[in-house]
């Protein structure tokens, strides 16, 4: 497997003086294509900060990021982050964050149309994606008419619309019950394996860790441990 993402020595702090917080402290990591990785850690460890840095949403203070072999950040953006996000990255959050005035299908079409794809082609792909998530009959519903799980599935479909090389998910199952949460995690894994997309998932939910290929642990802005998910799952079952 080739490297989908390589990040080196990422640093990020918030605020100034006494209130200054180091959110990322020399973080380096790599993700391979088709790999689904969990990012665990206590609240305030810097998980979301890392995700926004890797996702070219909030620039870190220093360090470098290469995605798909292209250096996109090296102490400053080396490319237009918005255009890069549009073409190469997908995002899923705790809340689905669908545009409330667009139907499920339109929400999925949106990233493709923003990237200049025609209406016909984008509609066809949107339908295909929505169907693959089992929502064929909810296509024309507004987000407010969908359940939380359905909304989250639409959000994942939207994140996949432009066939991203990387998918970032920040606690995508926090608002869902555990069965549904697990279902969503499995979907993310299937996406990673089928579409050869690298998926990084921030989660608190340790029950679904067996879904992941790898588990990263973060504390105080540092990645302090890396395990194969099987080990984590074993450890948990041993404790129980």
């Amino acid at each position: 497997m080739k490297e989908a993402l390589i990040a080196e020595n990422l640093c990020k702090h918030y605020g100034k003086g006494n209130t200054s917080v180091v959110a990322l402290d020399n973080v380096s990591l790599a993700l391979r294509t088709g790999e689904v990785v969990a990012l665990l850690g206590p609240s305030g460890a810097g998980k979301s900060t890392l995700l926004t840095a890797l996702g070219l949403i909030r620039a870190p203070d220093s360090g470098s990021i290469a995605i798909g072999g292209q250096i996109v950040f090296d102490n400053g953006y080396r490319t237009d982050p918005a255009a890069f996000r549009r073409k190469h990255l997908g995002f899923v959050f705790q809340r689905a964050n669908l545009l409330p005035f667009l139907t499920a299908e339109e929400n999925v079409r949106l990233p493709m149309e923003l990237d200049g794809l025609g209406a016909r082609a984008s509609a066809a792909r949107a339908r295909e994606l929505i169907e693959s998530f089992g929502l064929a009959n909810r296509r024309d519903n507004l987000p407010s008419e969908l359940s939380g799980g359905q909304q989250q599935r639409v959000a994942i479909a939207r994140a996949l619309a432009n066939r991203p090389e990387l998918l970032f998910a920040d606690e995508p199952t926090a608002a869902l019950d555990s069965a549904l949460g697990r279902l969503v995690m499995e979907m993310l894994r299937d996406v990673a394996h089928e579409h050869q997309t690298a998926v990084l998932v921030v989660t608190h939910d340790t029950r679904a860790l067996d879904v992941f290929d790898r588990v990263l642990k973060m504390e105080d802005g540092r990645i302090c441990g890396q395990e194969r998910s099987a080990d984590v799952a074993n450890e948990r079952s041993r404790r129980e």
């Binding site: 926004t52 918005a82 545009l99 667009l102 990233p111 923003l114």
Partner: protein, 401 residues
């Protein structure tokens, strides 16, 4: 690319409609205020404009007949007419009366006209056909064609209806013959005439004059028997039309040189009206119009700005998805402009219906409308651009939380 602005509007149609209707009502009031101001100015100078006179001749030392009382002897008309450069001279008799009419207050400006009034904008009925007891009434007096009105000793019949003729104070104008106008103005009940004669006799009784008893008795007798000394017929002003080819200012100066009159050009009269009679209410309305305009601008800005702020989360999401700035700006701007333009159009429609029901004239001037429209578009654009600026500055990461 699907039109996000339209889709969003459709989704929140109720709110969109309410916003538009609310803003259109506000705009309607702003437009109306401007129209009332224009109406005030128009009504103030209406008589002067419609009188078609080059020069107004009034009592010496006065700025009559509108700004203050001016009286001239009836024969002044002939004296002026005889002057060089004068094409025609006609008397101007006008006064305002307030009467009760079938339980409502009727305020009329009675205007004496020297002819049948066929030059007036008649919408129904006919001009005056005889010298007495007929009147033409303005529509705003709400006197129906054929109705009768008792003024002084006589009953007048409405034979024609005019439109949009009001006095500077906004009262409806009615037109009667010159003699009728004087009769209405100078009407004296019999009792008043008896009192006048009695007073005259008393005056002579107490004056000895130092003359012979015979003379005194003779004076007393004649005072008792002579008809009451009614004041001579007086008119308010003389309207002069200057002979073609003559310089108006020249003729005016010549008339003004007469020892007992004053002459103003029509423009001079207009200045007297706008600078004096209605100056205060005009200034008041101009000021109020400005304040109202400023308040409405602020309200519109706030409404459109908050409308944009409400979308900040959606805008952040769009940014996260990598939408170009143009897409976001376009969506917000389109909505704001749509609301602005629709509100303006709706305001025009509502105004068209509502303004004729206003108690005073509302004159909508195209130029004012164009300016207002430009301001509305400008405010819509500005408000949403301020909103967009804020929206684009917000942290994309906000979507995460």
């Amino acid at each position: 690319m699907m039109n996000l602005a339209i889709k969003d509007i459709r989704h929140k149609l109720g709110r969109f409609v309410l916003t538009t209707v609310g803003m259109s009502l506000l705009l309607m009031v702003v437009m109306g205020m401007g129209g009332i101001y224009r109406g005030l100015v128009e009504e103030a100078t209406l008589i002067i404009d419609r009188s078609d006179a080059d020069i107004w001749v009034v009592q010496k030392e006065t700025k009559g007949p509108f700004a203050e009382v001016s009286t001239l002897p009836r024969n002044m008309e002939e004296r002026i007419a005889a002057m060089e450069g004068v094409e025609s001279a006609r008397p101007f008799v006008s006064h305002t009366i307030q009467r009760d009419y079938h339980g409502r207050v009727l305020r009329l400006t009675v205007q004496g006209i020297p002819d049948d009034g066929s030059w007036l904008p008649l919408v129904r009925g006919r001009p005056l056909s005889c010298g007495h007891f007929e009147m033409l009434a303005d529509k705003s007096a709400k006197l129906p064609l054929g109705s009768e009105l008792r003024l002084g000793n006589d009953t007048y019949k409405v034979v024609g209806i005019t439109e949009r003729l009001n006095s500077p104070a906004g009262d409806a104008m009615v037109f009667v013959s010159l003699n009728d106008a004087l009769a209405i103005r100078d009407h004296q009940p019999g009792e008043a005439i008896r009192h006048e004669r009695e007073a005259r006799v008393r005056r002579f009784e107490h004056v000895a004059y130092g003359s012979t008893a015979v003379d005194h008795a003779e004076t007393l007798r004649s005072a008792r028997e002579r008809p009451a000394a009614l004041p001579g017929l007086r008119i308010g002003a003389v309207l002069v039309k200057v002979r073609p080819g003559w310089d108006v200012e020249d003729v005016r100066r010549r008339i003004s040189a007469l020892p007992d009159v004053m002459a103003y050009t029509a423009d001079g009269q207009r200045e007297i009206m706008l600078g004096g009679v209605v100056a205060r209410s005009r200034r008041q309305q101009a000021l109020f119009r400005k304040i109202l305009g400023a308040v409405s601008a602020v309200v519109m800005m706030l409404v459109l700005y908050t409308l944009t702020l409400d979308k900040i989360h959606d805008i952040a999401m769009l940014k996260l998805l990598g939408a170009r700035q143009g897409v976001i700006v376009g969506m917000i701007l389109q909505q704001a402009l749509l609301i602005g333009c629709l509100s303006f159009a709706l305001a025009c429609l509502i105004g068209n219906w509502a303004y004729p029901h206003f108690p005073r004239r509302v004159v909508i001037v195209r130029g004012d409308q164009v300016v207002l429209f430009a301001v509305v578009v400008g405010i819509s654009a500005l408000a949403s651009l301020i909103g967009i600026r804020k929206a684009l500055r917000t942290d994309v990461g906000e979507v995460l939380s």
